[in-house]
């Protein structure tokens, strides 16, 4: 099983973590049109590559960001939200 390193709790089996989806900026609901909004809600570019994602270490409920290569199954680095090195 993959090992993921929680910035607080250290390296653990990936089964101790929950995947929270890609980190995406929400458009301003007031400013954007319907199509732009539905595009944000449903669509993405899911081509493989290095993605910034939300992950949660479930025993400690620690949320953090992981940079992960979704093609090579490699975790490049992890850090707390807003503390990107």
């Amino acid at each position: 099983m993959k090992i993921m390193t929680c910035p607080i709790n250290g390296p653990r089996l990936i089964s101790e973590f929950a995947y929270g989806g890609e980190l995406r900026a929400m458009p301003d609901p007031a400013a954007c049109g319907d199509d732009a909004w539905s595009d944000y809600v449903f669509h993405r570019n899911s081509a493989p590559g290095v993605k910034r994602e939300w992950w949660c270490h479930t025993p400690s409920n620690t949320w953090f960001i992981a940079e992960r290569d979704t093609e090579q199954d490699r975790i490049l680095r992890t850090y707390l939200y807003g503390e990107q090195p």
């Binding site: 607080i8 709790n9 653990r12 089996l13 089964s15 101790e16 270490h57 479930t58 025993p59 400690s60």
Partner: protein, 190 residues
């Protein structure tokens, strides 16, 4: 350098499991200002995340992650703390966890059957503890090095308590260990 865990089950009677739930009081608090709040109450704090230290010979304070704390002591020993009003940035956490104690040379084998953590490397840093998953349940696990090998304190959500107890006891017995009642095992905690 860590020592390899034995792959053969531990010899009989070197493994005991104890339910401390009813004989311990737990107080939890978290929040960005929790550390400061506790310090103001004159309590010593573990410097780093996921470490613990003894408050006195019968009470301990554990730092869970960066900003959450768990205090463990005999019933009544933490009442004043529990009653202290919270301030801004301090969030009281009601702890009703099940609390177990695992002792003996057979403990590492038992742990290796229910938990994916490399305890050998966890225990090289004194005062370290781990928030991890055990037999499918989230636990707080705290090694207490002592004569006669490590003792492990562990806490889990009370609603999983019976499940975890039965699971651990079944394995402990398979390893030749057994369940010991709290009194005989609680002297000199932590």
């Amino acid at each position: 350098m860590s020592v390899p865990l034995p792959h053969s089950p531990a010899p009989a009677a070197t493994l005991s499991l104890t339910d401390l739930t009813v004989v311990r009081q737990l107080v939890g608090v978290k929040g960005p200002k929790a550390a400061q709040w506790l310090a103001n109450l004159g309590l010593p704090l573990p410097e780093t995340a996921n470490h613990w230290l003894a408050l006195d010979d019968d009470r301990l304070i554990a730092r869970l992650g960066l900003s959450e704390f768990l205090l463990d002591g005999p019933p009544g020993s933490l009442d004043t703390l529990a009653a202290t009003p919270r301030t801004h940035g301090v969030y009281p956490v009601l702890r009703q966890d099940a609390a177990f104690l695992l002792c003996g040379a057979g403990a590492p084998e038992l742990l290796a059957q229910v938990c994916s953590l490399d305890f050998a490397t966890l225990e090289v840093t004194p005062g370290a503890l781990a928030l991890t998953s055990m037999a499918g349940v989230g636990v707080t696990l705290l090694p207490q090095p002592g004569d006669g090998g490590s003792r492990y304190r562990l806490w889990c959500d009370g609603s999983y308590g019976l499940y975890l107890w039965e699971t651990l006891r079944e394995i402990a017995e398979a390893l030749g260990g057994d369940a010991v009642d709290a009194q005989t095992c609680t002297e000199s905690l932590p």
